[in-house]
Amino acid sequence: MVNEGVKKSRSNRTFLLISILPAILILGGFVLMLFWGFYQSLTDMRFGRTRVDFEGFGNYAYLFGRGRFWDSVSLTTTFAFTAVACEAVLGLAIAKLFNTKALLANWCRPVMLLPLVLPPLSVALMWTTMMNPESGVLNYFLGFIGVDNFSWISKADTALLAVVFIDVWTYTPFFALIIFAGLRGISPEILEAARMNGAKAWGLFFRIELPMVLPYIILAALFRLIDSLNQFDIIFGTTQGGPGNATNVLSISAYFTAFQNLQFGRGAAIMIMNWLVVLVSALVMVKLWRYTRDRVS
């Protein structure tokens, strides 16, 4: 009897190992690559050259001393935080709109999935054609409200705005759908009770709905922030970091450093810095999320 128990637990353990090992091996490979990438960032590795010298934090020191690097850091954070803030506000408004009893609300909701399912690079190229300053359809529409020849991605002072706009178009539905689910989750009794106590629509929104969906909004913002701080496809597909360095965010800068200038070590160092920016931002958001969630309950 005892023997059987031991045997059973052993076969159980084998089964556990067999089920989990392939996944660990596959993912473990990536972790090795990650460490190797970090090691590279400490060297002067170049593609096509066999000699590699260990440099310590030389690459980092070089970056910290360059104004262009700090421009990239501030572009990355400006891009991500602006985009995510716009997406949160618009997403909230759209979620409220689709949470009404309007006839079309339920019917049209699937349309919101459209921007989310398209490949981001296709989205970028699609908007590039529409943003053409001379013949683009976007400026044709803007002409109706008296704005002529808006330069979009073709000039340095509007390029960042244009790529933020594309990010906002693509990912506002992400917020809208999540906040929509949050609004649906509020029990009708709470809202009814508040209404009985004479709360007006705005009061209802600010006192009950907003605080209750706030944790959802922040969680969505956390995920979007991570992706936007790493955004590569949309910017590569539209401006490739230009004009000049107007949209040269860290990921783009790392790509060109590593794969065009072939300075692998320095490119890896830029990516490590990008990752640190992501990490710090994510930690702040998680703190914020805990705070709002505790306040609700």
Partner: protein
């Protein structure tokens, strides 16, 4: 009463405005893909035009070269479509084979470091893809996996595998454990329980998860850009279309439509799954 009708009218109009903003760009690109080059560059833009299939013919290299505006330029878009399908489907299948048992184990077994492992898997959602790609690029050059399906399918696991494990774990947790206990009492062994009891119950969930993960694989651009030369997936091929330096927008529009047909088809197949997957599936 009148006021109620008015608000409802305004709300419906606002909803239509949102729908217009979301759908118009896509409708516009579809229209462009059927236009002749002259109509695409026309300003003000034309909304009514004589449609042509020429752009698609050039895209798939079935037009008579002399008959097009592009002379002898050759574009072969069949290949990138096949590449994307092979890599994405391959990546989903490998993720299912490796991820479903792992998801099951994470849901049903208690072992030391289990939560750490789950957190490790979730952590891949935050992994800096470009940072991992620089070493992988060199590694692939050395062992000959650069520009190969096998290499791409492995690299895509970075995106697909953690998602499958995570979703599968939450689906298994939704299945009452009593069903498995009952099977165990009847003498079934673990592998048997998993294959014959749990797997059938997971089927709908896994179909949804596979659709979602296929979509993420189809989207990917950076990995193909860096790790392929010939086995390029669709998004990279699209960008290459812009390189000839001539006004190629009509053909690019046709390519964009091809890259979008597959995901839009997936919405029709599994709207419910995707809505949950693209939002909460990622958060849960």
């Amino acid at each position: 009463m009148l006021q109620g009708k008015l608000t409802s009218l305004v709300l419906n109009i606002l909803i239509l405005a949102v729908v217009f903003v979301m759908a118009f760009p896509i409708v516009w690109i579809v229209m462009n893909s059927f236009k002749e080059a002259a109509d695409i560059n026309a300003y003000p833009p034309v909304f009514v035009f004589d449609s042509t299939l020429e752009n698609y013919k050039v895209l798939f290299d079935i037009a008579d070269a002399e008959a097009t505006n592009y002379g002898t330029l050759k574009v072969e878009f069949f290949k990138p479509v096949i590449n994307s399908l092979v890599i994405s489907v391959g990546a989903v299948l490998l993720s299912l084979v490796a991820g479903v048992p792992a998801g099951y184990a994470l849901a049903r077994y208690n072992f030391r470091g289990k939560e750490d492992l789950a957190f490790f898997v979730l952590g891949f959602r935050f992994a800096p893809v470009l940072l991992v790609v620089i070493p992988i690029f060199q590694f692939f050059q050395v062992i000959g996996l650069y520009d190969s399906y096998l290499g791409m399918i492995w690299v895509y696991q970075l995106i697909t595998l953690p998602m499958i494990i995570w979703l599968c774990r939450s689906y298994v947790e939704d299945i009452p454990v009593e069903i498995e206990e009952a099977a165990a009492i009847c003498g079934a062994k673990r592998p048997q329980i998993m294959l014959q009891v749990v797997l059938p119950l997971l089927r709908t969930g896994l179909v949804g998860a596979s659709l979602l993960v296929f979509l993420l694989a189809w989207h990917n651009f950076a990995l193909g850009l860096i790790l392929t030369a010939d086995k390029t997936p669709v998004p990279v091929a699209l960008l290459k279309l812009l390189n000839p330096g001539i006004s190629f927008y009509p053909v690019v529009s046709a390519g964009l439509v091809i890259s979008m047909i597959v995901p839009i088809g997936l919405i029709i197949l599994g709207q419910r799954h995707l809505e949950r997957g693209l939002t909460f599936g990622a958060l849960k």
